[in-house]
Symmetry: C2
Subunit: 230 residues, 2 copies
DNA sequence: AATGCAAAAATACAGTGTATCGATATGAGA
DNA sequence: TCTCATATCGATACACTGTATTTTTGCATT
């Protein structure tokens, strides 16, 4: 054995911290979905044994929480936008785009309360945007309603997107996308309104549809913000 | 050995079908959450070997789809209610109540397109309620917006409920619920609006909050239904 | 240089979804 | 009624999971 092919010395333990761990976990999830995040694979990426991670995170669920919080840092806009409506719209769209970058986010969104610093900062930004425009209770209701909408909308969109991808790229919405199954179902005549919608509906791109629904919800919120602040 | 303690004869294979399997899976999930649904445990409940299930379902994901579709049968109301608003409200509330009966539903809601017969029937009922009140595209947008709202709202509510349960029953919303962590965070002064909301906000019960947000969204929908049908 | 200690690695365990293969029971044909 | 083919079911197996426990290691201090 020459000096050239001397085996790598056993790599000195790389210093670890939550940030590095979470970043690696996010990378893993981006590549292969949440299911690809196993503590063994994650540790391997960090040149560590699996058990080493337990010095930094207590459980896998906690790791997921940290991942979500890390993405919330991407969601938070750098400068505060003009009016409340713009602020809320921006937050919603940024969340959506984050979910398109990190599809696994859709699996976690709304699944657990977001109590990390960045998650709280997003909530803070939402409530701050509404501050002074209505009493606190109305503001909270508004924040919750808007975020309920975009959590649901994002989950639906990602679910849809995955289904399309799984059945092979299908241009038309999902009639022939989901294969003969759907068409057969519709052919039974038990779903007339749905059938009409599928065949006669214009399919708009996901972003527009998201934005439209969001605008409706924001309109609804606007209608309650007329009351003066307490 | 007397006739009395003769061992049970090897139980003849109980006839199986998807319905029985799904019912057992739902029972299991109701008791211990989605995580408690393993093919081994499920098979054991049905006096069968694990592999036997694969004659009826292709994969565990498919089992989950079937479970969701079965619950959609509970969601579908028996008689069609009066106007569109009542119809949509009823569907939302029935979905919520189903999720309170079957908390695991919150984990699955919106996670995959609902293409089963009962899921389709629910979509059909939604669209049918809007039929004739607007053009198809508006109706679809309305249906999607409303269901996005309640999917998100239900997920948040269940997540919140679980968090409360985990930290021990805490009456006050989540300030001291999440233990010292939250209070410490709020004490940093980095979240003034949030702090005010937590301390000065009235905490309303979950059902009311769900209903209120839903009404806002329904108002927004109503504002778009003025246009005559195509 | 020896010793104590903290940190990391190895091992272990109980469980998972699912592929493969061997036994077995059932129905058909002779 | 007996034999054989076939479909069904169970057992076994595999690669992996999250995590508890035990063993080894390397470093700092005496």
């Amino acid at each position: 054995m020459s000096v050239w092919d001397r085996p790598e010395p056993p790599s000195r333990p790389v210093p670890l911290d939550r940030e590095r761990i979470v970043a690696a976990a996010i990378a893993l999830a981006d590549e292969g979905g949440l299911a690809a995040v196993s503590l063994r694979k994650l540790a391997a990426r960090l040149d560590a044994g699996p058990m080493r991670l337990y010095g930094y995170i207590a459980t896998k669920e906690e790791l997921f929480d940290l991942m979500v919080d890390a993405v919330h840092a991407e969601i938070l806009p750098e400068e505060r936008p003009g009016d409340w409506r713009e602020a809320l719209r921006t937050l919603a769209h940024r969340t959506r785009r984050a979910a398109l970058r990190h599809e696994w986010l859709a699996d976690l969104l709304g699944g657990r309360p977001t109590l990390g610093p960045n998650g709280l900062a997003v909530t803070e930004a939402t409530l701050a945007a509404l501050d002074g425009l209505a009493d606190i209770d109305t503001a909270m209701r508004a924040a919750e309603t808007v975020s309920a909408y975009f959590i649901g909308a994002i989950r639906r969109e990602i679910a849809h997107l995955r289904a399309e991808r799984a059945t092979g790229l299908s241009e038309r919405d999902w009639q022939r996308a989901s294969g003969p199954h759907i068409t057969r179902m519709l052919a039974t005549g038990r779903f007339p309104a749905l059938t009409k919608a599928v065949y006669d509906g214009t399919d708009v791109d996901a972003e527009t549809s998201f934005a439209t629904g969001l605008d409706w919800v924001l309109d609804a919120v606007a209608a309650r913000l007329t009351r003066p602040p307490e």
